[in-house]
């Protein structure tokens, strides 16, 4: 059975639980809950002062946000390829794909720092107004998760490179992958919400 077939076949029997350690999925659900609440809070805070939010939203670097979205999506894709590789029995290829994913994370962080540098130079802080409080707070909170995701990818990549996973035993890779996808999923809502929706 090739790796491709494993990923795309609509199964006759379903797996009882998602790939990777069940504990990470509890974690993922909790994280999604927190972010979900933050998103809804943002939306309702915005409803309280639409003009303020619309005005300052235009001061955001939308291009940077778009680039970051494309980076994270690509990173997730690389991680999917990594899981496919280890399922095909190739630990080294897996590690390389994970490293590529890590790389997209590095670029994401760099772009984000650029955005922040720009804002801080303009004197913007958490206390400037409600919009910026959410913008800085939410993106920073997400950034922390990107960093966490990168640490996880690096750890898994290192183990994969050293042959720590096999065709049959690679739950660690799937676990790390799931976390990374969560980080991506969150950003897919965050980006349009903060940067685009007016």
């Amino acid at each position: 059975m090739t790796a491709t077939a494993v990923i795309d076949r609509a199964p006759a029997t379903r797996l009882p639980s998602p790939p990777g350690d069940l504990a990470i999925w509890i974690f993922i659900l909790a994280e999604l809950l927190v972010f979900g609440l933050l998103f809804v809070a943002y939306a309702f805070a915005r409803a309280g002062d639409v003009a303020l939010f619309n005005h300052h939203q235009q001061e955001l670097d939308q291009a940077a946000g778009l680039i970051n979205t494309l980076l994270l999506v690509t990173g997730s894709y690389f991680v999917v390829r990594a899981v496919a590789a280890v399922r095909g029995g190739s630990g080294r290829a897996c590690a390389l794909w994970l490293a590529a994913g890590f790389g997209t994370g590095v670029l994401f962080v760099a772009v984000k720092f650029g955005e922040y540098a720009d804002k801080f130079a303009a004197g913007v802080s958490l206390s400037t107004n409600t919009f910026y409080m959410f913008y800085l707070g939410l993106t920073f909170f997400h950034l922390m998760h990107v960093l966490m995701g990168m640490v996880i990818l690096a750890a898994v990549a290192q183990k994969a490179w050293c042959g720590g996973y096999s065709r049959v035993e690679h739950a660690g890779v799937e676990t790390g992958a799931a976390y990374w996808h969560m980080v991506d999923l969150v950003w897919l809502i965050l980006f349009p919400l903060l940067y685009v929706m007016r």
Binding site: A23, A30, E31, L33, V34, L38, A41, M133, F134, G137
Partner: protein
């Protein structure tokens, strides 16, 4: 008892219960002073009795945690405690220091206590729950360091289990965060900001790790369920606790002069703080449900399940009721706070210590796996008396708080504090009555340890 050195836990547990009883006595005095303001004035005014009540709570819980650690760490690490002698020495130091502190609170004017203990050299006194003289605080740090050294060395030379490590991290966190009690900024906003680094990050942070670890240990021992299953749940629970609780500290930063963004971040994260407690309820009942053995210590199992439920209700639900900033704006510092505080502390921390004592005492006393059925029955009665009366204390204080908020803050024509207190007196009388029932339960609890009946082999045979 698998390791001889586990025996050092016994004096810690006995001290814990004795101090618990003293705490409740002072609680009854305070409860009466709410309605008869001059009761015991001027010998023991409200503010002095309160210091004793709250400080005793913390000290007896600390004795309980230390006893729990001394009991479970050698068993988890599968090796004798590093130094039983040190453990006993620290016991006496802590007990005497604690006794001196309480005597100081009761028999001296606070300002005189401060002068006598040289507070002016390094002022740390005068803050709620941290009223101890600076030299006593230093003593607490010394005791804590000695304790951590002892436990740490034991774990280092033995088996490192998840339970052990989570407990150790919790205890190290407890000690480390206590150091913030030495940081006493002049700026009142900063003073309060850092005060919560001790209080919140203790009870809504590292203490939850201690709670989780002890609960896991007792469940492993009494249910026989796979250690790995229980340890995985423990990881999930403490992760949820830390994720929600750390930024959740912000729910104490709404009105003290810190930036407004805390009203958002504190509300959102603290709203989620009940989740780990809810998970603990599911976990505890689930584990007990799929137990592989019928452990003779039924009382311990009751305490364990009760802890999970009461912690969820007191800390989780009652905490949630007043955690959102728009609600807290009205309820801050009212009897709602007192309602939550009592059920939370009892449900989470008093009960987990009592759970551990319930499990360990029969073994420490050489009675076997469990006390006699009659003793257990008495103990279970005491569980119900204390727990149900605490629920009533909480309900009455909630009633008092709701009326207080309505009359004093929310209504069109808010009334003054004392005028409102007059009108909520009925709730205080009811609370005091419930408090007396609680005390009765506690007395029964002590008695249960002296109730005889067939133990050991006969108890095992019946199980």
């Amino acid at each position: 008892m698998q390791y001889k050195s586990q025996a050092v836990a016994k004096p810690y547990f006995i001290a814990a219960i004795a101090l618990f009883a003293a705490q409740v006595v002072f609680g009854l005095i305070l409860g009466l002073q709410y309605v008869i303001g001059d009761f015991l004035f001027p010998e023991l005014p409200f503010n002095q009795a309160r210091m004793v009540h709250t400080n005793l709570l913390i000290v007896w819980l600390l004795f309980g945690f230390m006893g729990a650690a001394y009991y479970l760490v050698p068993e988890e690490a599968e090796t004798e405690l590093h130094s039983p002698k040190l453990a006993l020495a620290l016991f006496w130091i802590f007990l005497i220091a604690g006794a001196l502190t309480v005597l100081g609170y009761v028999f001296l004017r606070y300002a005189d206590l401060a002068r006598l203990t040289g507070d002016a050299l390094f002022p740390t006194m005068g803050r709620e729950f941290l009223e101890q003289p600076t030299i006593i605080k230093i003593g607490i740090v010394v005791v804590a360091l000695g304790f951590l050294y002892n436990i740490g060395m034991t774990i280092l030379k033995g088996r490192k289990t998840v339970v052990n490590l989570v407990l150790l991290i919790g205890l190290v966190g407890l000690a480390g965060l206590f150091l913030f009690s030495f940081y006493n900024p002049d700026n009142l906003v900063l003073d309060k900001y850092y005060w919560w680094w001790v209080v919140h990050l203790w009870v809504e942070g590292v203490w939850e790790l201690i709670l989780g670890a002890i609960l896991a240990f007792v469940l492993i021992k009494t249910t026989g369920v796979d250690r790995e299953v229980i340890e995985k749940w423990l990881y999930v629970i403490i992760s949820l606790a830390l994720i929600t609780g750390i930024i959740g500290t912000g729910h104490h930063y709404y009105w003290i002069g810190t930036p407004e963004y805390w009203q958002w971040w504190g509300s959102i994260f603290s709203a989620l703080e009940p989740i780990p407690f809810f998970a603990m309820v599911i976990y505890a009942f689930n584990i007990v449900n799929r137990r592989r053995r019928e452990h003779p210590n039924k009382a311990a199992t009751l305490w364990a399940l009760g802890t999970a439920v009461m912690a969820f209700l007191g800390a989780g639900v009652w905490g949630f009721l007043h955690t959102l900033a728009p609600v807290n704006f009205y309820t801050h510092g009212t009897q709602i706070t007192a309602a939550h505080g009592h059920m939370a502390f009892y449900g989470a921390y008093a009960m987990i210590v009592l759970t551990m004592i319930s499990y360990a005492m029969p073994k420490l006393r050489g009675m076997g796996e469990a006390a006699s059925e009659r003793a257990q029955l008495t103990e279970m009665w005491s569980f119900w008396l204390m727990t149900v009366s605490m629920v009533f204390i909480t309900l009455f204080l909630t009633g008092a708080g709701v009326l207080q908020v309505w009359l004093q803050r929310y209504s069109e024509a808010p009334q003054a504090f004392m005028a409102v207190q007059e009108q909520i007196k009925i709730f205080y009388w009811m609370r005091e009555t419930a408090g007396l029932v609680f005390f009765t339960g506690l007395v029964l609890y002590v008695i249960s340890h002296f109730v005889g009946g067939p133990t050991g082999a006969k108890a095992k045979a019946r199980a």
